[in-house]
Symmetry: D2
């Protein structure tokens, strides 16, 4: 029997490296923390990914993305996922359960990242053959939560 | 091609009648509304079920319940769903997206129903062969949202 | 200059002892944890009260309760607080920011406590001369968060 | 006795015109709706402002801003508000109760507006003598909710 994949492996299997999430955190926080390194950002991301609540959201959202790609979801959910229905808000709700772990200060950065689709988020969003209804929101939420964690530790702004 | 099931049919296919949800609403609200009828409760439930946000939450949660029954979810999500892992909070997050539609006043009734597992909720919760990780929370949330809708219309208490 | 009150003093000044919150946690969790002591419940409550997010919600809600008692809020907010308007949901929203700190599993216990108004919550709710629009919800939320913290540590149910 | 101010008057008294909120909505939505007029944006904003949940959040947040300006809040809340403490998340929580009214699709636009502080938000944020801890978040949330309302009606994207 194969071991279940851990959350870092699940992200990698969907094409997202931890370093790409760290890069989003760096872009958000560099101006508030002179001398900030990618390594420090990476550590915050890894801490966020250790949280049970975060893992549950990622396992659930990624499973829905994968099942949609395999045409295995019941209708009308399959159709909603295939056209990335803009009024479907369950992806944002799952993302919210990630940002909440470090308090509401992560909300702003989540919305900002989700809107501008920078870095890895742009790549996920423009993929033609894969379905990433949940993954782009979840990755944005992990980055926003890592920025909030950094802000809590330094007692400085998350925004 | 068969038409996708609407949300009332989806509930029925999972063993939940609209009247059972109305009964939960009646039990919550009868003491605040002398002369309240089951029919009025039913109308509020049907209005809640017409909301797009509510339908999206129901389609998504029920799909996850069904896929877990069919052993089609990837690990470790399949195992989490099978043992109804008490620290899995995604079911409550989806329920929250339902109660939110009529404002935060629905939160209290949702928690109360989810804790005491009255009526149809007890039956769902004790089922041995089916998986209802999401369905019991979603049904409690629909009942709580219907009670909140009634309270908003009457300008009276939801609790 | 006097030091600002810490959060335990703020609660005491509003008539709530930490032990009364621990008692709510004990009542919620005793059946899941044979041998559970009040002391262990108290430690979880104190940890919850150390969280910045929790303190911010308590300071804000209690300030609004006190200013309403002193008739110092602008209208129409003063009138809404005086009649404990059932459709005012800001108290629940603040409570949610407390339960969220330990994930969504605290939601159910919050709603249950808020509905049944057991222990200290009943006393707060029935007070005739003081205004506790926020305090009863916030205290219920602290107890629910402490129960969720216990569940996360033990890997067991919060409900 | 003077009538309590309605919510449009409260906003105006704090220096925010409805048209400035409409302008934020227009900037968010113009690219998705060719031919969109400011007048249509204004109507969506006014509908959002009629919602009880929205009014409650605005009355509460504005009262806290005003009481902080008048040095009437108890410590340590007064100090937190005066320095616009970046880890204080209650402003975002209240904003969330506004965006939730039209579902979670408003979250992204809220975060985007709150981060970039465009238009009226920049003016509020840079004010030296007034305190707008809550107002900028609440105004961003009203604009995001109005954009979500427009998206729901047209069945199109809110983002």
């Amino acid at each position: 029997m194969t071991e279940p994949m851990n959350v870092v492996e699940v992200l990698r299997a969907r094409g997202v490296a931890v370093d790409e999430i760290s890069e989003l955190v760096y872009d958000l926080q560099a101006k508030y923390h002179p001398g900030l390194t990618r390594e420090e950002c990476r550590e915050h991301v890894l801490h966020v990914l250790e949280k049970r609540e975060v893992q549950h959201a990622l396992y659930t959202g990624v499973a829905l993305d994968e099942l949609a790609e395999q045409h295995r979801l019941p209708q009308p959910l399959q159709a909603i996922m295939e056209r990335d229905e803009p009024l479907y808000g369950i992806d944002e709700i799952l993302a919210l359960s990630i940002t909440n772990v470090y308090g509401t200060i992560g909300l702003t950065n989540f919305g900002y990242l989700d809107k501008l689709k920078k870095g890895v988020l742009g790549r996920l969003n423009n993929h033609s053959s894969q379905i990433h209804v949940f993954l782009d929101d979840l990755v944005a939420a992990v980055a926003a939560a890592a920025a909030a964690r950094m802000a809590h530790q330094h007692g400085t702004s998350a925004e």
